[in-house]
């Protein structure tokens, strides 16, 4: 599992190629929509009207569009949490667990220091959230760096542990007096500010800045160069004097920190409270998005947007078509299947 066979840059710079790539992806999504349409017909629903609903509810109104952006925010971060370790050949599938622990740490800050002013409390929560995610990623990172256990397996196992710890903390210590399954609402100082009367919050800015920083670091710094060297040939990198073990641990922890930040952003910016199973697969979604985008920052933004449109549209499908909300996962899965399987037709002219 350590070796990554394909590291194709799917979103190469340069206008012409970007356009080609975007068209190719749009065609693939169209194919997925046709396949999902067949499923809708089988289920006795009108596919055309369903798609009209999805599009008009997401892209057709300013409010719908803002909701798409809102659901995109944590995905940007969880995808980056996969993309960064990926550069040194680490497969961080533990974003889900790191997100939960990050959210728990941030919640600890919000509940313990409710009297602090926002300009102290929010940075504190950011640091706590990143610390929590980093700690959770340290376990697989360290075990990998000493050559003991593969990071894929450990981070996967820890995914299942983290939500239960969060459940334990909420039920045991943090639940609000009236409600045993969630914490009290955070004070205003512990909430990320929102923009223009929508639910879009500061997390968007954090996510985009981190993606840009990631891009700059990979492209222009020595670290980026060294990480690329480790990713393509770890043994050669080690012989060239790059501190391999240190890189592996630090990068894994950084990835975890970003996923933890996603958890903090979600509880502080979106929910304003912590409850069990709040993530609903955001960490796994980040893994998918990163993989679909080939680890490229711009690709991550685009794929996160597409996934968010699909997910936000699912809400409406539930309301107007009487379908279970989970059914929208089929459309998402078809998109993933097609992009992953990429039929020859879509392969383009690249080798």
């Amino acid at each position: 599992m350590t070796k990554i066979a394909e590291t194709v840059n799917r979103f190469p710079a340069g206008g012409q190629k970007v356009l080609q790539t975007v068209v190719r992806y749009l065609l693939m999504i169209l194919l997925a929509c046709i396949m999902f349409g067949v499923i809708l017909v089988i289920a006795g629903k009108d596919p055309i009207a369903s798609y009209k609903d999805i599009l008009s509810s997401t892209l057709g109104s300013a409010y719908g569009f803002s909701e798409v952006i809102v659901s995109m925010i944590p995905m940007l971060l969880t995808a980056l949490a996969v993309a960064l370790p990926f550069k040194v050949g680490l497969i961080n599938i533990g974003g889900e667990g790191q997100l939960y622990i990050g959210a728990a740490f941030a919640t600890f800050g919000a509940l313990t220091f409710p009297n602090l002013p926002a300009w102290v409390l929010l940075p504190l929560m950011v640091i706590l959230g990143m610390l929590g995610g980093a700690l959770w990623a340290f376990i697989p990172g360290y075990l990998k760096s000493i050559g003991l256990v593969n990071e894929t397996i450990t981070s996967l196992l820890l995914n299942s542990v983290a939500p239960k710890i969060v459940g334990f903390l909420i039920l045991g210590f943090w639940h609000s007096p009236r409600d045993t399954v969630r914490t009290p609402n955070f004070v205003d100082a512990a909430r990320l500010s929102t923009f223009f009367g929508t639910r879009v919050h500061l997390g968007l800015v954090i996510g985009l800045i981190l993606l840009i920083v990631f891009w700059l670091v990979m492209k222009y710094t020595r670290w980026g160069l060294e990480m690329g060297a480790i990713g393509s040939n770890p043994q050669a990198a080690r012989r060239n004097g790059i501190p391999l073990a240190k890189y592996l641990v630090v990068i894994m922890c950084l990835g975890g920190a970003i996923a933890g930040l996603a958890g903090m952003v979600q509880v502080s910016g979106f929910y304003g409270t912590l409850f069990p199973n709040f993530s609903m697969g955001l960490g796994f979604m980040g893994f998918m998005i990163c993989w679909l985008a080939g680890g490229d920052p711009l690709g991550i933004v685009l794929m996160a947007f597409v996934v968010s449109v699909i997910y936000s549209g699912g809400n409406l499908l539930q309301l107007t078509r009487g379908l279970p909300y989970a059914v929208i996962n089929i459309l998402l899965a078809f998109t993933l299947f097609i992009v992953l399987g990429r039929p020859n037709f879509f392969k383009g002219k690249k080798s």
Partner: protein, 305 residues
Amino acid sequence: MTLLSILGVLSSAIFSGTSLLYTTLGEVIDERAGIVNLGLEGVLLVSASSGFAVTAISGNPYLGILVAMLAGGLMNMILGYLAITRKANQLASGLALMFFGFGLSALIGKPFVAVKIHSLDRFLLPGMASLPLKYSSLFKFDLLIYLVIPVAILVWWFLYRTRWGLSVRAVGENAETAYASGRNPRRIRYQALFVGGMLAGLGAAHLSIAYTMNWTENMTAGRGFIAVALVIFSKWDPLRAIVGALVFSGAVAFQLLLQSSGVQVSSFLLDTIPYILTLIVLIAWGGNRRHSAPAMLGRVYQGSE
């Protein structure tokens, strides 16, 4: 705490452990051939919902089991197409399969929420007939429970004592060498996935048709991931998988016992036991390469066209 409640807990642990063991055996076969199926959760859901639906419509639970197995095998074929033929990343393909399963099972199962079914017949464990009724009813198990250990032994026998099993393991260790020795790695991986999917489907069928006897959305609640953990815990060995499933259902039983005896231990923390045990075992075995994972696990077989 009475003897009755202890026996009741053990009885329900056997029920929940059975479906888990079938699922784990299926994943053992997948992974022995070199394919990690992270979509197991989705496979289970689709099998559980379709098996339940068929049972509800036809009134025949055995037909439902058959359909659930077929559904499991077919779900795994999707993974096979992506990961073997299209050479896509296995983890990403598996997760995509999981999301597909969430959606498809919700669609299949929706008309059958709160429907009652005729479940599998239960037979009394031999030698227990003399017990009073309230005890003996705890020793009534269905056919799938009696068959689970023999099936585990059968899977072991297939993997270690037949040509097919040798091929599966060879492909999982080194597909190139397997190819050089005249085997077709792709076909063998497809076969392993289909058989593994059928076993997972059997586990899911036992869950929805024989154990809970109803369908609720997302009813597997992480069993797919527990099975993936148990495969690692059991070192990819079907016989050790029996032990793994016992440890897990033991932990569940232990938790229920503690609760019924009034001890205040968070069920959330007890739920983490199987994962933490697996982690500890992994670390303890870390240095030992001999019995570790199939060497090509998770790798794409590039092969010659």
